[in-house]
């Protein structure tokens, strides 16, 4: 069986009775019987699902439900922590990300990440964007310039900063800094963009701009976003996965999750009946 040809519906959790039938894109990321442990403490339990390419998938769930832990497994960031281990597998285009032959740097080049708090380097706007290219060894000025303009245009920041690319990035507003971080994350042209609560520190206008950006960016990238905002998940994502106590409870079309979820736990969480 060629994993790239597997329809995402095949790996839906057994508890889900409704398959995301409208999803036609091929499976891009597949999580297979995945368990995760911090030392002796297990935080993810037998996670199975498949994410199609060029879709936005939201991970929702209460604090400690395992959504960020799973997100950080996609680029193996968790391995930076001591005493962690996993069982099961995660594949991207059919290839295990844990395969011994996979170079972790090469993996992370394919997967951009944006964090809750924007984290621009204390350098110029220009240098922030080209940073991934520089560490890849690219120093051609024309290519760097082209990447800066393309990336900043993609995040709708170009017009706001094009005349001050040499200024320190820390002088930008919170929303601009977060968009700069997204521009940096996509500068190396990854396939996947991971976002861990990217708007939690932003005001509603800056949040709206990021959300508009997410919808736009899915034309080029497969996006996975962890969010505590139900409204944000319902506004921007095509698919939503609900996690609770380290288990994937339900995974379905966002519209279905927010109008008629199958599982009572999902219903109780999104309607504010448990916490």
């Amino acid at each position: 069986m060629n994993p790239t040809s597997i329809n995402s519906t095949e790996l839906l959790p057994s508890s889900s009775k409704v398959t995301p039938s409208g999803v036609t894109n091929e499976t891009f990321i597949k999580v297979i019987n995945f368990d995760f442990f911090y030392g002796k403490k297990q935080t993810l339990f037998n996670i199975n699902f498949a994410i199609p390419s060029k879709h936005v998938t939201s991970f929702i769930g209460p604090s400690g439900s395992g959504k960020s832990t799973l997100l950080r497994n996609f680029n193996r960031m968790n391995e930076l922590l001591p005493g962690v281990r996993h069982e099961g597998d995660i594949t991207i285009e059919g290839r295990s990300i844990f395969d011994a032959s996979i170079e972790i740097i090469a993996l992370r080049r394919r997967i951009g990440m944006v964090f809750q708090k924007s984290n621009p380097f204390p350098r110029s706007i220009y240098e922030n964007v080209v940073f991934p290219l520089r560490i890849m060894g690219c120093h051609k000025r024309a290519h760097l310039n082209e990447t800066v303009e393309r990336s900043l245009r993609s995040v709708a920041l170009w017009d706001e900063v094009k005349d001050r690319l040499g200024e320190n990035a820390l002088g930008l507003s919170g929303g601009q800094m977060q968009r700069l971080c997204i521009a940096r994350a996509i500068a190396g042209q990854p396939d996947i963009l991971l976002m861990d609560e990217p708007c939690s520190a932003l005001d509603p206008i800056a949040t709206a701009k990021i959300e508009e950006l997410i919808v736009e960016l899915k034309k080029e990238f497969t996006i996975i976003i962890v969010t505590h905002s139900m409204q944000q998940a319902s506004r921007v994502s095509d698919l939503t996965a609900f996690f609770n106590f380290g288990k994937l409870i339900e995974f379905d079309h966002t519209n279905r999750i927010f109008t008629a979820p199958i599982e009572k736990q999902t219903e109780d969480y999104i309607t504010g009946r448990f916490g």
């Binding site: 999750i257 109008t259 008629a260 979820p261 999104i270 309607t271 504010g272 009946r273 448990f274 916490g275």
Partner: protein, 225 residues
């Protein structure tokens, strides 16, 4: 899964309870008006008819209040899933009950006109139609209160029966018109009342559809016969 209006956020629970209570109030008021209009017809008492007409204003106001309550919940609490379905269904049910109120006003007006003439035995031809329309409306309100999908689905089947009774009654009354042209105005108004009762059945069926949507998220409208 059974719907509970209880939330972590107490004001949300209170507002959901409030819209539920408003639906119950408008439902009871429309039901009482319906009975008044029918009493006015059978007891040949215009006072009942006048009451039914006058009380419709309160039903109109309640419909607007339900819409305001629904909008408030949507704007303040952004309901999703069963809550969203419940609020949307409640607003639609409020509108359907208001339309039932309008049909009751028409029945009351037609009854007053019939009361101007000597009583005719054909009045009792309406009995079955009235009984079924009233039962459908009662069942629709009960299905909403009990979130009873089975009862709601049963109302849909009763609607066809009501359509048939209305049609048969029309045919009989048209024949009588041909036999006795002096009573055409009375028969004419009886036909109109039967038509109003048939419309009440339609609205009860609409309420039933909204109950099914609220309870199970299934859209059973326009599924054909």
């Amino acid at each position: 899964m059974a719907y509970s209006r209880s939330h972590i956020l107490t004001p949300f629970t209170e507002k959901l309870d409030q819209i539920h209570s408003s639906i119950m109030t408008i439902g009871e008021l429309a039901r009482a008006n319906f009975k008044n209009a029918i009493c006015g017809l059978f007891e040949r008492n215009d006072d009942y008819c006048n009451n039914a007409i006058a009380n419709d204003e309160e039903i109109d106001l309640l419909e607007m209040q339900i819409d305001r309550e629904g909008l408030y919940i949507m704007s303040r609490f952004q309901p999703v899933a069963s809550d969203l379905r419940y609020v949307i269904s409640s607003m639609k049910i409020g509108a359907n009950i208001e339309r039932i109120g309008d049909q009751v006003v028409s029945i009351a007006r037609r009854s007053r006109k019939i009361n101007e003439h000597p009583e005719v035995p054909e009045l009792h031809e309406l009995d079955k139609v009235i009984k079924l329309a009233m039962k459908m409306f009662d069942d629709a309100l009960r299905a909403y209160t009990e979130e009873n999908e089975t009862l709601a689905l049963h109302i849909k089947t009763q609607d066809k029966q009501l359509d048939r009774l209305n049609k048969e009654l029309n045919e009989r009354l048209i024949l009588r018109m041909q036999d006795d042209s002096s009573k055409i105005p009375i028969y004419f108004n009886l036909i109109f009342i039967s038509r109003c009762l048939e419309r009440i059945g339609d609205h009860a069926a609409n309420i039933a559809e909204d109950v099914v949507f609220a309870v199970s998220a299934e859209d059973i409208r326009h599924l054909g016969s």
